[in-house]
């Protein structure tokens, strides 16, 4: 499992709708800010990249020192972004695919308003389990 990993789902309006620190390293108080900042800045690159490729999985589109940002772009332009320090591309890809599936299930929930924050604890638990499994 990765030491540091910050996972975020960003809606098509660039609003973060889900975030989780899924690394093994005990979370530092200030890490959230830095990770958020890095992921936010990476949106600039995603924005450039998204329309030039048809691939959903954009691996390592941005680097920040030792950290790497990988992104999975969904059809409705929701972006699953992962800041990680591991190099396990296959694992990351599987992680994204599974989370994608989870997210779709959430979308199907009639009580979930698309584009709003995902507050489901079930979703959170599942994502963390997936992170343990793949990252």
């Amino acid at each position: 499992m990765a030491n540091t990993a910050c996972f975020m789902i960003v809606s098509k309006n660039d609003i973060p709708i889900y975030e989780a620190e899924v690394g093994t390293v005990p979370k530092k108080e200030d890490a959230a800010h830095q990770h958020q900042f890095i992921l936010h800045a990476a949106l600039d690159i995603v924005q450039d990249m998204a329309w030039t490729t048809s691939a959903m999985f954009l691996k390592a589109i941005d680097r920040f020192n030792d950290l790497v940002v990988s992104v999975y772009i969904k059809v409705i332009h929701t972006r699953l972004m992962l800041l990680h320090d591991s190099r396990n591309d296959d694992g990351i890809k599987s992680f994204f695919q599974e989370v994608h599936e989870l997210y779709i299930k959430t979308l199907l929930n009639p009580l979930y308003l698309p584009g709003s924050r995902i507050t489901s604890s079930h979703f959170d638990t599942k994502v963390r389990a997936l992170a343990r499994k793949y990252l």
Binding site: N13, D14, E29, H40, D44, F64, N65
Partner: protein, 1239 residues
């Protein structure tokens, strides 16, 4: 060969174009120089690239240099081959000769000598100086030239051309150019081949120990440079690429790590571009050096430059221990700056395609950022850390970047104690700026680990030390400055255990360095490392440092903005703002901060927003931008609660409240949609009837951390069905205190139009400040257009029903009540799903009707089953539910208040009323047609009712109720028999007209004059008959025996008693629920007080004396036997016969005119002919006449036939046959034949 490196650089600077040698044999150059140089640079050149494909070069600069020039002379052969690219690409031999002999003897051998060197590409330009008019000279020149061609040109190649100075031929220049091109092309091809061969050879030896990267590098670089000279940029780039790759491989090859260069003064400066513009210094790695130069292709250079910096920086890391302190950082900074300088000066806007341009700026931005990061690191190391904003971007860039790892951390120079003192002072003075709103947040780190520890750990001389001692030397270590955040607890514990031995701090060398000492040591070390004066200057003082820092930030931000990487750009704007902020340039700072906030807020990254927004708020506050400050405070409050402490949030709120209550210069409505949200209550919506006011209950969610007082509050209601009308506001009257979280408030709601309503906008005032909120529900997404489609349909909160009847008033009984008696009139009050609480009924009795005000009104619950259960024989007391729930009410001022318990049930209000009718009832002879309608109309009375009800008596219901009153009996009489003794049996037939049983206890007849009672003479029938019970709607008869008395004297008697009066004493037992009933007692004395209950009914009867002297007889003649049919005319015939001769009126002609009239019911009959007329009848007895009238029956059935009357004759004198009414049968009309179907 490495020694050639410096030379190489200067050569490259000098020869950055194609060189063409001019061998001026006959001193002609000054003469033709101008013409030659005019052709430069060559416009169209076809050159072969590395793969031998022709490439068109648009502009090829070149220079003609005489072979006698110093630049082409005195070169060592070795140099020549190595720097072959600078050698002439063509040799042009300029000759002239006017004499064949001279040519043969002198010129030709000389030329042979010149051109014998095969390696050179050459051709001869023969210049003819012969004037045009001198044929002799021209001819001579031609001859010489021909000779020249024969000697030097071959079939393969033309090597000669001729320039006529006096008559220049246009073709000559083209010819010359072609020849030059040919030479250049050939030379180039050959040199490429040579270089490739050499490079290949070197590559093969690559893994041999003698191999020298420098040689390889020079060759490769020369080749690349040659391509560049020839303007074959792509090839050049490819070569550079390969070279870089190869270089990095070499650098990283483990076995090859020898002495790493860079220890000499000046090596720290990287000059990647533009050698011609700057004095050259280089990084020497082992035995290589690296340099780019390009003329015009900026972007690829830039990208390559950037990636080179990154990779070389990595390489430097590997060798960091050997290099001077911070060599790597310094190198990166200078490299970046050089790259930026070089490219920026070349690049001009709009030169390239937009996406290339974008990319260019992006890379430029990246370079700036990199440079900025390294610069901050250096700044931090020498103690400017407190001037670096601890923002996420700086924290992320610096705290993840490891410290420099020199073999030995620089130690403090011996004479630096004063500097240390200064730094100490600086550290002491430096207290972090208190954040606005008293926000206390752990500052973000700018260092990967504590510098103090890192530096001391890397000091070779420091063998052991008590770590806690490290911190002791520094006052306020834990709270005064962020970078010194205490070590993780685990570490400090373990360390204090490990290094617990006290002592050995005496020697200054062994003592751990204090922070100030580290700063000073780093500064000294850097001074040694940095050779660039400018860079050192910018690190020399805080002001300079900040200036440079600002420049770099600005550069990065601008370039990112241009490249449309807005997030990168805006973030750096935030850094610039921080500097301005610090320097109290609040205007700029606020502008920039606003940009940052807008970005984060727009994209909902609240964590990041929470970092910047307080700064913006502070700037706005200082600038006295009240509106902006307010909205910032509101935004701060609306951020996620976890981002700030409650105390901080309370500070935000108190600011808002303070401002709201102060006199604002330009009060602006404040949007608090994110703070105060509202929705209708759970549960069913409020339903109101048309015209009703109500109370609306609304849930308000307050996100304020404390209670907040709203001076006023109003909500708009928007009709969903009618968008034309604006929203209506409903207001609360008093101030409302909102608690944090959920509040339920109620608002008075004036009557609204029918329709359903949703909540619109919440507005209100906090102090003087108006605010508004648009959001309906909590936790919804920010108001962005994209979410409109997702927005939950707002639930209607209020429904006002269309107008409908809310109550119904009806009479309780349909049957008639007793006339002239006080009767209960029941009014059924039925609310229709509407409360009648507090309803008031106005009662207005119409003419002929009087309310018995002495009595109480009664009200009871209306039971539908009552009527069915009614048994008329039972006394009404048993039925009347007095005991179960009759309540008595009093009429006040014509109004009655309905009790509350009746508000939701159907009730009956009993009103005591008396219908007044003057005159007596009239009896009729039995058998005569009584016009029923007339009597009904006579007995009809109306009550006008008006009910005021509703929440605030806003509803009104008006109804007029008709009540029917009647006499208890209808009386008819007939003479039942005429006895021989002259007694008449008078039958009085009583028909009950009420739905109640009547008990007649006594009846008597007051006879009119001319009649007298037979028998006892008291006018009463046998008393044993009584009481006589008459059931509802049934008949009873009473016989009176009377006889004809002598008529009294006419003058008195007739006036005395013209009619007979029938008196009936009776009691009535009926239910008021059904109809007539016992009159309302004035005093309820009890049911057994019979006397009080006796009622008297009087009816007028007219007795007629019998027909004693008939004069005329009228007989109805029989009808035709065929019967009557509807629609068929029939002749009705009557015979009038005189029974007695008319004596009194004797007419001369013995004829009397008799008036007749036919009475018909116009519904049944139609008369064809005269209805009324005179007929002549003889006055003699026995005279007779027939009267025929043509009639048309209109209705089938048994109908009364027309009757003939003689109005002029007293009825007593007419004898009728048949005497009473009879009926005839009228058949329906025959079927119309036209409808018949033939059989």
């Amino acid at each position: 060969m490495a020694s050639f490196l410096p030379q190489f650089q200067s050569i490259k600077t000098t020869f950055d174009h194609v060189v063409l040698a001019v061998e001026d044999v006959s001193d002609l150059w000054p003469m033709v120089k101008k013409g030659f140089e005019e052709r430069l640079p060559f416009k169209r050149a076809f050159l072969n690239n590395k793969t031998r494909n022709p490439v068109l070069v648009d502009e090829l600069p070149a220079e003609f240099i005489l072979t006698t020039d110093a630049r082409l002379r005195s070169r060592f052969p070795q140099e020549q081959s190595l720097f072959w690219f600078r050698e002439p690409y063509a040799t042009i031999v300029l000759v002239t000769c006017e004499d064949l002999d001279e040519f043969k003897n002198i010129l030709k051998p000389r030329l042979k000598l010149i051109v014998q060197n095969d390696e050179r590409e050459w051709f001869i330009v023969f210049v003819s100086k012969a004037p045009a008019h001198n044929d002799q000279a021209t001819k001579m020149a031609k001859k010489v030239y021909a000779k020249l061609e024969v000697d030097f040109s071959s079939k393969k190649r033309e090597r000669c051309c001729k320039l006529d100075i006096n008559a220049p031929d246009a073709n000559f220049w083209d010819d010359l150019e072609t020849k030059i091109m040919e030479c250049i092309r050939n030379t180039l091809d050959r040199r490429i081949q040579f270089y490739e061969e050499e490079i290949r050879k070197l590559s093969e030896q690559r893994f041999m120990p003698v191999w020298n990267f420098c040689n390889f590098f020079i060759l490769k670089e020369s080749l690349a440079f040659m391509f560049e000279i020839a303007h074959l940029h792509e090839d050049a780039l490819r070569e550079y690429d390969e070279l870089e790759l190869c270089y990095l491989e070499t650098v990283n090859m483990v076995g090859k790590q020898r002495e790493f260069g860079g220890v000499e003064q000046g090596d720290d400066q990287a000059t990647l571009l533009g050698p011609a513009r700057k004095p050259l210094t280089q990084i020497v790695h082992d035995d290589s050096f690296r340099e780019f130069e390009f003329g015009s292709i900026y972007l690829p250079v830039k990208q390559r430059g950037y990636s080179f910096i990154i990779s070389f920086s990595k390489a430097l890391t590997l060798h960091e221990s050997m290099l001077p302190f911070c060599m790597r950082e310094v190198w990166v900074i200078t490299a970046c700056l050089a790259l930026i300088d070089a490219t920026a000066s070349h690049y001009k806007d709009g030169l390239a395609a937009p996406d290339v341009e974008k990319e260019f700026y992006r890379v430029q931005g990246e370079i700036y950022t990199l440079c900025r990061t390294k610069f901050m690191r250096l700044g931090y190391l020498i103690g400017y850390g407190s001037d670096i904003e601890r923002s996420p971007v700086n924290s992320a860039s610096l705290s993840m970047l490891p410290w420099p790892k020199p073999a030995v951390w620089p130690s403090l120079p011996s004479n630096a104690s004063s500097e240390v003192l200064a730094k100490e002072k600086m550290i002491l003075q430096d207290s972090p700026r208190p954040k606005h709103f008293g926000i206390q947040r752990k500052p973000l780190p700018l260092e990967p680990s504590v510098l103090l520890r890192e530096a001391n750990r890397r000091r070779a001389s420091l063998s052991a030390g008590n770590m806690s001692e490290l911190f002791d030397g520094r006052p306020n270590a834990n709270d005064s400055s962020g970078p010194l955040s205490p070590l993780p607890k685990v570490n400090s514990v373990s360390m204090s255990r490990t290094f617990s031995s006290p002592g050995n701090f005496e020697g200054s060398i062994d003592r751990p360095m204090r922070l100030a000492e580290i700063y000073v040591a780093a500064e000294h070390a850097l001074r040694n490392t940095i050779s660039d004066v400018k860079l050192w200057e910018s690190l020399s003082s805080i002001e300079e440092f900040e200036q440079k820092y600002l420049d770099l930030s600005k550069g990065a931000a601008n370039n990112y903005h241009r490249s449309w990487w807005k997030r990168h750009g805006v973030v750096l704007d935030g850094e610039i703002a921080a500097v301005y902020h610090k320097h109290e340039n609040y205007d700029f700072a606020a502008n920039l901060y606003e940009k940052v906030c807008a970005l984060y807020a727009g994209e909902g990254w609240e964590n990041l927003l929470a970092e910047v927004l307080p700064n913006l708020a502070e700037c706005q506050k200082i600038q006295n931008d009240q509106a902006g400050y307010l909205s910032s405070c509101v935004r701060l409050l609306s951020l996620d609660k976890g981002l700030f402490l409650t105390k901080e949030r309370q500070a935000f709120q108190s600011e808002v409240v303070r401002l709201a209550h102060s006199e604002m210069e330009h009060p602006v409505p404040l949007d608090v949609s994110s703070l105060i949200t509202f929705s209708g209550n759970q549960g069913p919506l409020l339903e109101l009837c048309d015209g009703d006011p109500g109370t609306l209950s609304v849930t308000l969610w307050s996100e304020f951390p404390d209670d907040i007082t709203l001076e006023s509050l109003s909500l708009t209601l928007t009709a969903t069905n009618n968008t034309d009308e604006g929203a209506k506001a409903i207001k609360s009257t008093e101030a409302i205190v909102l608690r944090p979280g959920r509040n339920i408030i109620t608002l008075p709601l004036p009557p609204q139009k029918p329709g359903s309503y949703v909540l619109g906008v919440l507005t209100g005032q906090i102090g003087q400040l108006r605010f508004r909120s648009h959001s309906f529900s909590k936790g919804g997404p920010a108001d962005s257009d994209d979410f409109l489609s997702y927005e939950k349909p707002t639930r209607p909160i209020l429904k006002v029903a269309n107008p409908r009847s809310l109550v119904d008033l009806a009479a309780a009984v349909s049957s008639a009540l007793l006339m002239n008696e006080s009767q209960w009139v029941g009014i059924i009050v039925r609310p229709l799903n509407y409360s009648l609480k507090g309803a008031v009924l106005h009662i207005d009795a119409g003419p002929g009707l009087r309310i018995e005000e002495r009595h109480h009104f009664e009200i009871e619950k209306h039971e539908v089953g009552t009527q069915n259960m009614t048994n008329l024989d039972n006394p009404p007391e048993n039925l009347s539910p007095v005991s179960t729930g009759v309540k008595q009410l009093t009429l006040e001022d014509g109004k009655i208040k309905l009790p509350d318990w009746t508000s939701n049930i159907t009730s009956v209000l009993w009103i005591p009323l008396r219908a007044v009718s003057d005159g007596l009832a009239k009896g009729t002879p039995a058998g005569t047609v009584v016009p029923q309608r007339q009597s009904v109309v006579d007995g009809l009375r109306t009550i006008a009712l008006k009910l005021d009800f509703g929440v605030s008596h806003n509803q009104t219901f008006e109804k007029t109720i008709a009540v029917h009153f009647t006499d208890p009996f209808h009386v008819s009489i007939r003479v039942a028999d005429k006895c021989n003794d002259g007694t008449l049996l008078l039958q009085v037939i009583l028909q009950s007209q009420v739905k109640a049983s009547l008990a007649i206890s006594d009846a008597w007849l007051d006879l009119q004059d001319g009649f007298a009672h037979a028998g006892k003479g008291d006018g009463r029938p046998a008393s044993s008959f009584f009481p006589l019970i008459v059931s509802p709607k049934s008949k009873a008869g009473i016989l009176f025996s009377i006889y004809l008395a002598e008529a009294p004297a006419k003058d008195e008697a007739k006036e005395l008693q013209p009619v007979s009066i029938l008196n009936i004493k009776y009691t009535i037992s009926g239910s008021r629920n059904l109809g007539a009933h016992t009159p309302v007692a004035e005093e309820l004395t009890g049911p057994d007080n019979d006397k009080a209950e006796y009622l008297t009914f009087r009816s007028e009867l007219v007795l007629q004396r019998p027909v004693l002297d008939p004069c005329l007889a009228v007989g109805f003649l029989s009808l035709p036997s065929s019967g009557l049919r509807v629609g068929q005319l029939v002749t009705m015939k009557w015979r009038v016969e005189r029974l007695k001769a008319l004596e009194e009126k004797v007419a001369s002609d013995n004829l009397d005119e008799v008036l007749y009239e036919v009475n018909i019911n116009p519904e049944n009959w139609m008369i064809a002919g005269r209805k009324r007329g005179y007929v002549s009848l003889s006055t003699k007895q026995g005279s007779r006449i027939e009267i025929s009238i043509l009639c048309l029956p209109l209705v089938a059935g048994y109908v009364r036939p027309p009757q003939l009357g003689l109005p002029n004759v007293d009825e007593a004198n007419i004898s009728c046959n048949p005497p009473g009414p009879h009926l005839v049968c009228v058949l329906p009309p025959p079927l119309s034949s036209s409808y018949c179907v033939p059989a």
